[in-house]
Symmetry: D2
Subunit: 409 residues, 4 copies
């Protein structure tokens, strides 16, 4: 169905114009669940380090859709058969792939809604939207779940080592942070896509662009996603939420917005996540967390108030990141220091001020299928084997780092 009056183009500093291809897509974009993504930042706390990084999951989802349209066009031009309904379904799939993200995305994934990951929630929300739109999303769901076995490449375009999600977020995050390291040759990569035996492949001519994509991704991890100050800000946010939940258990009053209170006062987990939980979950976004923190800076609990106040004026904890695990003596020492800084003597409370954690970064994983290169002799091999100087095999190693956050004053 043509769009007619509903025709819609949306400006994007990154891709120029984003065009909604038909009425169904338009209706999905208008759905309250999708509009909610306007209030969830793509990069959570990163804006405390990169002030330009205020872009949203809403914009990213539309950008990824735009790349998907280009990728499908390229494949069709190369003679790969993709029907109109498959086209629509993959477009819907990429559009909704992140619909289940909660406030501050990854940062709070396991603090606020414990034990239920965003992929699970994305699936539940897609099913609801499917119902609202008279089952128009059946095929999209099938592809999204990886159950469309005749054409696995359709799922790989949504969720693989080189999917449209990653291509858009690398470019977009790079653009909005101003970290040029993440810029990749997206157009070239898309032009080099092809399909062999149902699997997505990249033609050999595109191999340098793929290498660059992998290196860029690794660098963006260390420079942006796992930037030490971002990790410190994340740790502070998590500490605040933990304190709030602990106070909730003690019956403290924490605010009036019931969707947030629900998740502060109740332990939600995967096995009993029900329809009511979902109803309340979709009422949450970044706003609620930040508004709560603003209110909590005046809370009677000194710990909650002080941590909240510090976050708001960007007084962040110090952080040490290292290649070896954090020594427990160091942790103890830092807790003693926190006791002095905050005037808290109860040892059981010091964990709010000192956090120890692990950072992991796999630039590339070949176990789930990896990135396939189509060589000129028509054979297909993994990119790590196709590269001319085996640089890439290193990228398969998981890099693990350890951190501790603490306060000096």
């Amino acid at each position: 169905m043509p769009l007619g009056n509903k025709a819609k183009i949306i400006n994007d500093p990154l891709h120029g114009f984003l065009t909604l291809p038909n009425v169904l897509v338009y209706d999905v974009v208008q759905h309250p669940y999708f509009q909610r993504l306007r209030r969830i930042r793509q990069l959570g706390m990163s804006e405390w380090v990169y002030p330009g990084a205020t872009h949203t999951r809403f914009h990213h989802a539309l950008g990824a859709m735009n790349l998907m349209i280009k990728a499908l066009d390229t494949l069709k031009r190369k003679g790969i058969e993709i029907t109109d309904s498959e086209t629509e379904a993959v477009i819907l799939g990429i559009l909704l792939h992140d619909i289940g993200h909660g406030p501050y995305s990854h940062t709070l994934e396991y603090t606020l809604v414990q034990g239920v990951d965003h992929e699970k929630i994305s699936m539940l929300l897609m099913e609801r939207i499917n119902k609202d739109l008279n089952s128009a999303l059946e095929l999209a769901l099938c592809i999204f779940k990886g159950e469309y076995h005749q054409k696995p490449f359709l799922n790989q375009l949504i969720s693989g080592e080189l999917d449209m999600d990653r291509l858009d977020y690398l470019m977009r995050d790079s653009f909005y942070t101003g970290v040029s390291e993440g810029i990749v040759g997206v157009d070239r990569i898309i032009h080099m896509l092809n399909v062999v035996n149902g699997d997505l492949v990249v033609e050999e001519k595109g191999i340098y662009s793929v290498e660059k994509f992998l290196v860029a991704r690794r660098l963006m991890y260390w420079q942006v996603y796992l930037h030490k100050t971002v990790i410190a800000a994340d740790a502070l946010l998590v500490a605040i939420l933990k304190r709030a939940r602990d106070l909730a258990k003690q019956g403290s009053i924490l605010g009036t917005y019931h969707p947030l209170m629900h998740f502060l006062f109740k332990d939600v987990n995967a096995s009993d996540f029900n329809e009511e939980d979902l109803d309340l979950f979709v009422q949450l976004d970044d706003t609620d967390i930040m508004a709560a923190i603003k209110e909590w800076q005046f809370h009677e609990d000194a710990i909650l108030a002080e941590l909240s106040r510090r976050l708001l004026i960007r007084k962040l904890p110090k952080i040490t990141i290292q290649l070896s695990p954090i020594d427990s003596a160091l942790e103890a020492l830092m807790k003693q220091q926190a006791a002095a800084v905050f005037g808290v003597n109860d040892e059981a409370l010091l964990h709010y001020f000192v956090q120890v954690g692990v950072l992991e970064n796999d630039a590339y994983r070949s176990d789930g299928g990896g990135i396939r290169i189509l060589k000129k002799d028509k054979s297909v091999c993994d990119v790590a084997e196709a590269s001319d100087n085996y640089n890439l095999s290193n990228l398969k190693d998981t890099v693990t780092k350890f951190y501790i956050t603490y306060w000096e004053s």
Copy 2:
């Protein structure tokens, strides 16, 4: 004083790197009043039309500072005497020029804090920061207020028809919205700045860039700042706040965040705006408004709840913009229509649904000094007279448009 450990560079997708030039500037940026600007969008409701436009007043202030540093360098290289303390003062002046903006800036300027404009509040906050920093901002304040009569160009760089504020916001808003119409040759304009008799001038060679700046500004007004859907979203936001204030007068419960409640329940105006008001004002930002609207969607007052809900799912009023005033018959008709749509029969309440207003756009005003062009024969004239085909004289005409917002369903 050199920055040493406090050395700080901040990424900016627009200008590359922003460097804080010294410790005093660093301390001002760290001040809670300045950090608060991280939570105030530069373009308020525009992100409902341009999803990329989530950039903040924090980033803009730093960007304008960056342009100021370049402009001062250029002038010094041309032999204009500017002392180190003047340099620092002008940098601080541009950094703080917008410090008094409240949540949703212009949109709520006269709804939430009636009768006190943001320039007034900027001044009050600069004076407070000055106190906090041992009077280090005395000269900055003097220049900012236009009282540094020996070198008027220093004030003109902060606040004139071609100041660093405008140059940064035009570029920045253009960049983040993706509306390339606003791109101007900022580097060229800055390179062409000079001073004659204490006034800022642009050398004749830069005249085309100035023309382009004026045209770009006019176009950005119609395409972004006064975009019809942005005006409609603004009108809805204002209607919600008005309803909340009216309910406050009736003793309704509207939330628990006391800084916001203060301004909802009290009529603040210029004559009695006091220290306590200011203390509470600096606790407000965009978050509080959006969080309140999220809570109000569940409010017992049907009007407040329904308008709030509509804003959150981006169900915006229709709008008509025209060159002639809105006919009162049309307004009455639209109110009747609203009565039907919302099931509200009390005529006194229909004004929440139908708003009538005026939009004005002066692309260029020469009365306050305008933009002076330094001709090759060393004479100085107004840009509107210097242009070779007098196009620009049109830009001095105020363009006035009239709008009405209403609901169809």
Copy 3:
């Protein structure tokens, strides 16, 4: 016919990738006449002022083709019927629209091949290519000549006030010179194209982008195309060629490259421009002129040698540009000065050193159809009438300036 092995994508810093849509287009691009455009700069002598402006007519033609493909897609999506053969023909038309340009394009149009304009030669070359490719360009020729009366918009896309040629060259020249003034919202303009009664129109929503396009075009004229130093360099180049032709008439030896010698020694004009002339013309490009000048710096004729040497080391004449005609007394004075500088006493020779000329700039001409705006009420009017504050009517005035070039030492 699909491209298969001939599939070809070409990098373009401006548009990303340029894709050749089919075999016929590929064959046209491979044709020696088209490859020759690689050796003709888009902006002639402008690189002496803007060193980045070394881009070629080859690249521009491909870029304009790329915009044409987007424009046709947009129109088809809006329901305008355009057949596959029309699509191909318009693409070929835009690709070949400038095929008849000679070395240094406009600069030498009337010096080297007097009386035959490049449009005429473009037509002759298109007809030859048509023959080489078994009449595959019949429809393209018909549209190019404006003889395809059932769909005038197809010709307007190639050659009108808002054609794909202009959109590409404004963007491209702006990009390569680094003069950001010329940047226009090409994507937006293309998205707003439509067809009414067979004519190309722009939907009202795009009016600000059209205004910006017109203003940008005017500014690019004064800042780049008619930049005073570019005019001075042009004048020097023309003087060299004139001297060479005059020496040719006296039997002087000027080189060995026969295609260039042909046009130096023979007066070619429109009425007797024959097949042999055309055969030799396609052997000429920028290289030949510059190589000749390099050789002529050692010529026995002092005037030719000195002017050539000056051009090569970028010692350009001075220039005065003004709104009133050049006084003949000034011209005489400057000739006297040249006599002293160059030690030339023969008055008949002084015209090589002092040139007087006229520059004209119409930012917009509505007489040939102009730019039509489709208003919301479905009426169509000229953009100069549709604009809200009548700024644009000024742009219809031809701006005329007068110049004189001369030497000071």
Copy 4:
């Protein structure tokens, strides 16, 4: 000495504005030897693959100067002592670092002027300019030659593994080709420069940008500098020049431009390269080669004519690139094929049609000092050791590939 009337800003699409810092720099830029760089493409034959790559060594030298100015500012701000005369000298050094390049740079370095590399010629030309400018370049020469032992970092900024030359050319080549793979975080790298014990170092925070720089450089080699079609075009150009030189030895007439004839007819080598050779060398640029080829397409020697014609219409040889050496049987076979294609039976002539060669790419060499990283603990180590997952050690391996060019029809 301030620039005054000679003040000069030059547009650069890449860096914005390039400003000449003083009169001496201005005079060097005006020198005929420097102006000659306007006619030498930065990337030689690459424009046959990347049509945007027509940028010149003139523009690159100015761009590298611009980065040098920024780097020196950064170092001074960090307290590194650099005097005004050192500043000027380093700026002149980078400006002139490539002044000795001949036509088509690397492609013809060993064909046209055998046995004399461009570094040697650069030195000779700098000495001449030094003489012309009253020995103003003494210190620049000293630093350029690596003889300024008190501050080795000054030479390292001109010529090291991370010098301003490389930073500019990577960015510039990436920009003009449209290959985004080469974009590097130049601003960040420059901000992270420092000096320890007289050597240039990069602060640890910049390590990811350095990694990215090395990877980008490697990728640009394979994707642009050693692109297979570029190698094929180079091989054709070299074959043409070889054939011309061989014909010269037989007394054939090859043209009239004596500087080119000089190098075609004489075997110039390092030991006897004299002042007259240098006088003629500076009269050569890309124009002369292309003009000669244009003339040679009509030469009576069939081989020279046919190869020249093919180059002009971009009919390039086929090429095979592989990791193992080219089999001599394959070479023989390809020569037989060439014999058939060109109708040449004399075996001694077949080498013009089939060329075998080696390509080498060291992304990073640490032997000459490498890139030093200044760690947080103040120790300095090589970047290949500092990287967290040892990826970079691979980049030290030289990658060697072998190619053969041949003709199919």
